[in-house]
Amino acid sequence: MKETVIVWTALVPFLLLLCFGQRLSGLTGVSGLALAAVVSAAAVWFPWFGHPLPFWSASLSANFSVIMVALLVVGILDRARGTVVFRPADWHAAWIFGAVASILLYPSALGLGPRNFDAYALGWPWLFWGQSLWIFGGAGFVAALLIWRGNRFGYVVFLAMLGSAAGFQESDNFWDYLLDPVYATVSLLAVLRMLWRRLIAQFRSRDPSGKADR
């Protein structure tokens, strides 16, 4: 087992605990972050049912995406520093990217799409080398476009691509650096929420009487 995988499977539960700890305790600022980090680190290494949390998180998945980890870090920093690392447009880009990638990936990977097409197979650069360009080049294009337009989520996609080139995860598949089931679920829910809000706003704008508020 790669040493980097051991670190990665410990990092994810640590960041999740830190993020939830910050929110539940209301701790802010650098001192609050330090306190939450100490408590989270202790919880990560505490033997739950005989094993530390990385053992259980690796049982669920050893391939949490770089993007999800980066978004957790951004969320933690936003709260600790009281400044804005990600603006609303950056978060919107993160959720739309996650939702679109999920729809492209999961149905076909689970055998529910076209009969013998599997988008996941294109994530191994050497297997379907020609067609893989669509996935690798597509992600590069999205990252470049977002960075060009000043959207900070572009840097996160860039980071995921660097991670894939370094190959530090258990998986060699490019998709696993971009996406995981947790990020996919949160993204799909966030996009549904965004669409719902937009729909409500449109409905209200067409109803000047304000009856839609009732």
Partner: protein, 386 residues
């Protein structure tokens, strides 16, 4: 839009290049990603006088369940069989057992080579049970072992692992996890013999059974000191799985499937591009009531299939069938085992360097039986069945 700073265009260009870097770096491997099947046409037809013999591999058996056997020949001629055994399917005490047959012809006492505790320590994650081993004999003399570990639930919660032995299966290095699925790497299992690839490595027939149930090919190709793993789809949906892959030429192969549609007929797919794409499965003339099957190519190009024929129970017999037209039509030629109320299942066929056909299968999911016969015996049976 705000005007881009001096650094931003550069970073955007770097992001584009970072996206293309892994793809570009893989260009050499990409050029040989489907190198073709190694079809050993020079395998002799073995001894001319017909012979057939069978023996129980796990004569010493303390387990309620022994199933899903695999078989391989080492470069020195030693045969190695492995299977999973324990108190029941998915039980915590299930381990991968291995037995070797040396030059004296006797099978060694089965030894547990992979236990739940050991795999859990190797992988640093929860393992509730093990299953479906598959042996991979390397040209260099190393022996690979693919097997599944179950993290939760039953077979749908399984994922695949690979370990290597440098001494013919006596001792094993640490197992490593193969990622084959983006949804928590759930539900990938091996079952049937791998096909050797030109330039080294294997195409291993595998399958998924989670939301979809479908066959795939695991491509293991030499890369640095280990093997790169990648998976391609054979067929999607929820109706066939556990393919038996038979190479016909360097770029041509046929796969036969376990079928669990109501009609229950064995179906087959063909590939003309070395396993990259497959035709839609077509029904053959052999029945398949949702049971495992296995096939090999004989020295004259005919295909020999071991399968469960129709019977009052699900798997009360194990028969052999022969096809001389690449698997389109079949003739049942022999019965290897038959007993009312019993079960004979999961045949696994190999045809090693001396041309003798060797097979392991489960009887009542407790005994692992080994059968050995030659092509002369196959054609004698075929003549008798006319």
């Amino acid at each position: 839009m705000k005007s881009a700073g001096a650094g931003r265009p550069l970073l955007a260009a770097a992001a584009l290049l970072a996206g293309l870097a892994p793809w570009w770096l893989a260009r050499d491997e990409g050029a040989k990603s489907f190198p073709g099947f190694l079809v050993e046409s020079k395998i002799p037809a073995a001894a001319t006088s017909p012979f057939f013999q069978t023996v129980q591999v796990n004569a010493v058996n303390n387990h309620a369940k022994s199933h899903s056997a695999t078989l391989a020949e080492l470069p020195d001629g030693t045969l190695v069989a492995a299977w999973y055994a324990g108190s029941g399917e998915g039980a915590a005490d299930v381990a991968i057992y291995l037995s070797r047959r040396g030059v004296d012809g006797a099978w060694s006492e089965p030894a547990a080579v992979m236990t739940r505790e050991r795999v859990q320590a190797d992988l640093r994650r929860n393992v509730i049970s093990l299953g479906n081993p598959l042996l991979l004999p390397d040209d260099s003399g190393r022996l690979g072992l693919l097997f599944v570990s179950i993290a939760a639930g039953r077979w749908s919660g399984s994922s695949m692992n690979l370990a290597w032995s440098e001494d013919g299966g006596l001792t094993w290095g640490a197992a490593r996890k193969l990622t084959m699925n983006p949804l928590a790497n759930l539900s990938a299992l091996p079952r049937n013999p791998p096909a050797r690839l030109v330039g080294g490595g294997w195409a291993v027939p595998v399958y998924e059974e989670f939301l979809g149930k479908f066959p795939e090919t695991l491509w293991l190709q030499p890369r640095r000191k280990d093997y790169s793993a990648a998976v391609s789809r054979v067929e999607g949906g929820v109706y066939v799985l556990q393919s038996a892959l038979v190479p016909l030429a360097v770029d041509r192969a046929v796969s036969f499937f376990r079928d669990f549609r109501p009609a229950r007929w064995m179906s087959a797919s063909w590939s003309d591009d070395a396993g990259r794409t497959w035709t839609k499965p077509a029904v053959t003339g052999l029945p398949n009531r949702d049971s495992g099957l296995c096939a090999i190519r004989l020295s004259d190009g005919a295909i020999l299939m071991a399968f469960n024929d129709l019977s009052p129970g699900k798997r009360e017999n194990l028969r052999l069938a022969l096809s001389e037209d690449e698997g389109r039509t079949w003739r049942t030629i022999a019965t290897l085992a038959e007993e009312a109320g019993s079960e004979f299942s999961y045949p696994y066929l190999i045809r090693p360097s001396d041309g003798t056909i060797r097979m392991v299968y489960s009887a009542r999911q407790t005994q692992i039986l080994f059968a050995e016969f030659n092509e002369a015996w196959v054609y004698e049976q075929a003549e008798a069945a006319r």
